[in-house]
Amino acid sequence: MNEQLIEELQNIVGPEQVLTSPEDLICYSYDGTFTEHQPDVAVLPASTGEVSAVLKVAYREGIPVVPRGMGSGLAAGSIPFSGGIALSLTRMNRILEIDHANMMVIAQAGVITADLAAAVEAEGLFYPPDPASIKHSTIGGNVAANAGGPRCLKYGVTSDYVMALEVVLADGRVFRTGGKAIKNVTGYNLVQLLVGSEGTLGVVTEVTVKLLVMPEAKRTALVTFPRLADASRAINAVLSAGILPATLELMDETAINCVEDYLHIGLPRETEAILVIETDGDEANARRDIEAVADICRQGGATEVKVAATTAESDELWRARRSVSPSLGQKRPNKLGEDITVPRSAIPEMVARLKEISKKHDLTIVIFGHAGDGNLHPNILFDRRDPEEWERVQQAVGDIFAAAVELGGALSGEHGVGVLKRPYLEMNLGPIAIDVMHSIKKALDPKGILNPGKIFPG
């Protein structure tokens, strides 16, 4: 990137916010995956106006722009594989308005989701989507990936809550779409197009999400299953009985032990699986539902059901669940976390297939995830420096995706396609759907500068 361009960027955001040193480029080369690629420059704007001005320059020059929040994505979605500008939204971190009457909050894209959730909770309101990375992801990043989390089972994903967006297009034009009105079929639903578009259609600078009222009570249970197969069957048994818990999470033996090594909270180390199930609502419902869940689980092979007695105990269980993915780093240097979804009915079969794939390729595959909505996170543990092992990992990934699609599922429930799932996109979507998506991409980003090389193969 030549001196003139750097100077032009410096004039927009200020010289301290244009980072070009080798140290800076190293730090903006990675996200939450094991891959990396340096940008040519990292730019940290403080306002939508600055984002717009940066995009204008980039569009004029045909420079790739890769937006990022806290860079914790799990699909390489914010890694600048084509160089160019790593556009960090972290300085745009103000909560602009908590609207009680409409029960909505407006936040800049760089607000950390945990901070947003805490801010609204302090005012008696509730932002349900709770991705495991809630403390290390931004609301803008969550929108880009349509982030999920355990509570999606009952409450839905990020897209179910986004009411409006402020977006900067590839050419620098700024527009707002959606609004605070609950029903809106005025023109195309661009909000839902943009949510989950992984920074390839526009840069989101501001997000309006709707909120609920905090449920009066909740009950969190840790359910121990000596057999993984029983655990996976119990999931459907609970849901078919007409109970909709807030969460229904699965952790296998490896996941349990990694977390226990890290937190030492007394999880059962010698069992094949646990389910972490939370019910909420008014006091009577929460209690009645968890008791019904406990009965069904016991009938289905659970040997122990422990219901958290205090909020602190419940928080501890959730910290444990959120720690699964990062705690896997204790075992092998690298992990490839997949995010496949299957219809609920196919969960037991998918779990069985994962076990077979693990044996077939002689790889450790840790199984955990949002089993209640069929979204599992098989994590393959390996060492990237071993080319032979990496080859087996890629084969295993192919088998996992093939199995998910064969069972009627999809490649990604909440992490996005990024780069890592690109090669398998056509298998999942088919050529016509991809062609339609391509057309949209070309319409909004004719020069192809917004996060190039993501989502679409080739």
Partner: protein, 392 residues
């Protein structure tokens, strides 16, 4: 004094052991890193620093001034290390990086100068070391322990900050008042108290600290005391963790003053009057998270009649740094102040009127922030509070 290579030089073998490989880049450390939360730049996050150390270790990055600046831009508060799910020893990586930088001559000049001062003057201020007892001079009753006493139980190791910086004199003044009221047999080392060595250790110059360590231990042994009491958590940390590695079979019990105070209160050796106020306690990083001493200060506070203790949202192992750690204040005073302001804001959320800590550094930075923010909060050291409520 000649600097020699000792177990104090954290091995840069950590580069060879590739311990940075454990980092899977989840980014959780950024949420709690006080430096990252102010600056919002990835190089200021622990994850970024680990990536930089890895780049140096893998030969991808040649260390220079910019790299040095980033590595030293850290409070060394260890909250990242505490909660890393992958158990990356970020603290050890940062120590190794600093030793490596010092060896390459890339130590920031302010820290290099500090090292020289400590090495030559035996204290951090550059003042004549015989001025260590000035704080004791203007007391109503000169402390008994100033004159060397035979067969004393405790050596009170005051520490450089409280000895040379008038704003912190009140802490040793309070502690000697308490010890005398409780008839504790103690002595001070005066000019023979040399810097504990901690500032050298944390800036990558630990090899210069050996002579200091040996001298301090020898002086304590000469007094025939079996216990060393310190007020400063950094003194506590190095005395407790590092001194026994340098001096084998040291044979001394090292206590922080909060442990002594808890003992005295629980043994009924101090009479305390009521203090019907709401108090919150700030865990100093070197005492709490890095040394595991959370309960003694709380036992002290709960031993004061009618005192109501409320905890901040982030306390004990999750306590947020006051901004005074890691020599960051030397490198970036404005950042240190901003971090202190955040901690004061957390204290205010508790509704407490008093913010008590057990560290002269924490007291200074938090008091400064409270003043700047015009916060209705009295900031005190725990020794000052106990001295205040003591019945004579």
């Amino acid at each position: 004094m000649e600097a020699v290579s000792t177990p104090l030089s954290t091995s840069t073998k950590l580069f060879e052991d590739e311990k940075y490989l454990r980092c899977i880049r989840c980014g959780l450390c950024s949420y709690t890193c006080p430096v990252y939360r102010e600056l919002l730049v990835e190089t200021e996050a622990p994850r970024g620093k680990v990536a930089l150390v890895r780049s140096v270790g893998e030969g991808q990055l040649e260390p220079g001034q910019n790299y040095a600046r980033k590595i030293y831009h850290c409070l060394q508060c260890n909250i990242c290390t505490e909660l890393c799910p992958s158990k990356v020893e970020i603290d050890e990586l940062m120590d190794a990086a600093r030793v490596d930088l010092a060896a390459r001559g890339l130590l920031p000049s302010a820290l290099g100068q500090l090292g020289e001062i400590i090495f030559t003057c035996c204290n951090i201020s550059g003042d004549d070391n015989s001025h260590r007892l000035i704080w004791a001079e203007n007391l109503e009753r000169p402390p008994q322990g100033v004159k060397p006493i035979e067969q004393v139980e405790i050596v009170y190791f005051v520490g450089c900050v409280s000895s040379f910086f008038p704003m912190s004199y009140s802490i040793p003044q309070a502690l000697v008042e308490i010890m005398e009221a409780a008839e504790v047999s103690y002595t001070l080392l005066g000019v023979e108290e040399w810097c504990c060595g901690y500032p050298l250790l944390i800036s990558g110059q630990g090899d210069k600290a050996e002579a200091m360590i040996r001298h301090n231990v020898a002086q304590v042994k000469a007094s025939r005391a079996s216990r060393v009491v310190v007020s400063c958590p950094s003194c506590y940390h190095i005395w407790h963790h590092t001194y026994p590695q340098v001096v084998e079979d040291m044979g001394l019990e090292v206590l922080h003053d909060t442990e002594l105070l808890a003992e005295l209160i629980e043994e009924g050796r101090l009479r305390l009057k009521e203090f019907p106020e709401t108090v919150t306690y700030h865990d100093p990083c070197d005492l709490g998270r890095k040394s595991g001493l959370y309960d003694p200060p709380r036992r002290v506070l709960q031993g004061i009649p009618d005192l109501r203790l409320v905890e901040m949202a982030d306390s004990r192992q999750n306590a947020r740094c006051c901004g005074g750690g890691g020599n960051l204040e030397t490198m970036d005073p404005a950042l240190s102040e901003a971090i202190a302001a955040r901690r004061v804001a957390q204290a205010l959320c508790t509704g407490a009127r008093y913010l008590v800590s057990a560290c002269q550094q924490c007291k200074r930075t938090l008091a400064g922030a409270a003043r700047r923010e015009k916060a209705r909060l009295r900031v005190m050291d725990i020794t000052e509070l106990v001295a205040r409520v003591m019945v004579n």
